[in-house]
C-alpha cells in the first residue's frame, strides 16, 4: 500500500463514518433499534446501531485495500471483524444467552485459521520466538471472545468506547508499522479514523449509541491486528484497563452473567452526576472505581477512561521497546 493509498483510505473512512452516523442519528426511529440513555435525567431513546456506521466505513476501506492486491491477511482484516459485527447486530436485535454469546464469538477466529493468516510462532517480548503449533489455533479462537467481552464491558457511557480504544488503535498501528506489517497498521488507522467520525454523534450528549455491533467490530479488529502483526503481548498490555474491568465484573458478579438480568447497578445517576453505588454487593467496574470518591459528569468519566487507556498504551510501547532486542 502506497502513501497515496493511506492518504485516500483513511480520510474516506472518516468521512463515510461521519455521514452514516448522521444518517443513523437522524433517521433511525424503529422501536426495536432504539435504546435508553439511562445516565440522562430525561432518559432519552437513541438509535443503538450507530456501530453500523463505522462498521461500513472500515469494511469499505479494508475491502478496497484487499482489492488493490491484498492477500490472506488483508482478507481476514475484512471478514473476521464483519462476522463479529454481525453477531453484535444479532445481539442488538435480540437478547443472547450469556453462555451462547461467547460461543458465537469463537466464529470470527475461523477465517484466520482457514486462511492460515496466523503464525504459530508468536514473538514474546523478553522471551523471543516460541513454537506453539497445537495451542495457538485454540488461543486464536478464544482471543476473539475474551477481547469482545472486555471491550464491550467498557462501552457504557457516551464516548467511552471510542475514547478508550483510540489510544490502543494508534499504538497498534505504530507497532505494526515498526515490525513491518503494513496491512494491520492500515486497519488500525482506518478504524481509528472511522471512530473519530462516529464520535461527533456519540460524544456527550450522545445522539447515537455504538451498540454491540460497534464494540464487537472494534474488538475483532484489535484481535485480528494482534494476530496478523504478531504483537499479541503488546496488545494484551494495551488492553489492561479493559481486561481488568472484565475481571472486576466477573469476580464481583460471580461468573459470566448478563448485566441486564441483574437489578444491582455499579453506579447511580443523581442530578445528572454519576455516583458510585453505596451497596457493597453491587458489581465492581472501572466506572464505579473512578467515581468512588467524587460524583462526576458522564463526559469526565469517559475522559478518565481515555487517560487509563493512554497510560496502558504507553506501557505497551515500553514493553515493545524493552523486548525489542529479541523482537523479530
Amino acid at each position: 500500500m502506497s502513501v497515496t493509498g493511506y492518504a485516500l483510505l483513511i480520510p474516506l473512512s472518516f468521512l463515510v463514518s461521519l455521514a452514516l452516523s448522521w444518517v443513523i442519528a437522524k433517521h433511525v426511529r424503529s422501536a426495536r433499534l432504539m435504546g435508553v440513555d439511562v445516565h440522562k435525567p430525561d432518559r432519552p431513546r437513541l438509535p443503538k446501531i450507530g456501530g453500523l456506521a463505522f462498521t461500513a466505513s472500515y469494511s469499505a476501506a479494508m475491502l478496497l485495500n484487499w482489492l488493490m492486491g491484498g492477500g490472506a491477511v488483508e482478507l481476514v482484516l475484512v471478514i473476521s471483524p464483519l462476522i463479529a459485527a454481525a453477531i453484535g447486530l444479532l445481539e442488538d436485535l435480540r437478547e443472547l444467552h450469556p453462555v451462547i454469546k461467547p460461543l458465537l464469538l469463537l466464529l470470527p477466529g475461523i477465517p484466520v485459521l482457514l486462511l492460515s493468516a496466523y503464525n504459530p510462532y508468536p514473538v514474546i517480548p523478553l522471551v523471543g520466538g516460541i513454537r506453539i503449533t497445537l495451542l495457538y489455533p485454540l488461543l486464536v479462537l478464544a482471543a476473539y471472545t475474551v477481547v469482545a467481552n472486555a471491550i464491550n464491558s467498557v462501552d457504557v457511557l457516551n464516548g467511552s468506547l471510542v475514547l478508550s480504544t483510540l489510544p490502543v488503535l494508534l499504538l497498534l498501528s505504530a507497532v505494526s508499522w515498526l515490525v513491518g506489517e503494513e496491512a494491520p497498521a492500515l486497519a488500525s488507522l482506518a478504524l481509528g479514523a472511522s471512530l473519530l467520525g462516529f464520535l461527533k454523534y456519540n460524544w456527550y450528549p450522545a445522539r447515537v449509541f455504538s451498540g454491540n455491533i460497534g464494540s464487537n467490530l472494534v474488538a475483532a479488529v484489535i484481535t485480528t491486528v494482534a494476530i496478523t502483526a504478531r504483537i499479541e503481548v503488546i496488545t494484551l498490555v494495551a488492553l489492561l484497563p479493559h481486561i481488568l474491568n472484565e475481571f472486576f465484573i466477573i469476580v464481583s458478579m460471580g461468573g459470566l452473567k448478563s448485566g441486564k438480568a441483574f437489578a444491582a447497578r455499579p453506579i447511580r445517576v443523581v442530578r445528572g452526576m454519576i455516583v458510585s453505588s453505596p451497596r457493597p454487593s453491587d458489581p465492581i467496574t472501572l466506572v464505579r472505581l473512578i467515581t468512588l470518591q467524587n460524583p462526576m459528569g458522564e463526559a469526565s468519566v469517559s475522559k478518565r477512561l481515555a487517560l487509563l487507556s493512554v497510560y496502558s498504551s504507553m506501557l505497551a510501547l515500553i514493553t515493545y521497546l524493552i523486548g525489542g532486542v529479541r523482537f523479530r
Binding site: I124, L126, G128, F248, P278, P280, I290, L307, Y311
Partner: protein, 77 residues
C-alpha cells in the same frame, strides 16, 4: 484514579516479571532435556502455569479493588 493507575502498573510489572521468569528460568531448564518433545512440553506447560498464576493475580487485584471500593464507601458514611 490513583488506585486504578496503580492496579494497571502492578498488573503490567507482574506480567513483565513472568516474561523474565520464562526467559531466565524455564527456557534454560528445558534446554537441558535431550528429547525435543519433552523439552517442548515442559516449556509450554510451565509457561502456561505461570500465565495462569498471572491471571489468578489479576483476580486478586480485582478483589483488592472491590475491598477498597467497600471501605471507601463506608469511610464516606
Amino acid at each position: 484514579m490513583k488506585t486504578l493507575l496503580a492496579l494497571i502498573t502492578v498488573a503490567w510489572v507482574s506480567l513483565i516479571g513472568i516474561l523474565i521468569a520464562i526467559s531466565t528460568i524455564i527456557l534454560p531448564l528445558a534446554q537441558g532435556i535431550e528429547s525435543s518433545l519433552a523439552a517442548s512440553l515442559l516449556r509450554v506447560s510451565l509457561s502456561l502455569v505461570l500465565f495462569a498464576v498471572w491471571l489468578v493475580w489479576l483476580f486478586e487485584l480485582a478483589f483488592y479493588a472491590s475491598l477498597k471500593s467497600r471501605r471507601g464507601r463506608s469511610d464516606q458514611k
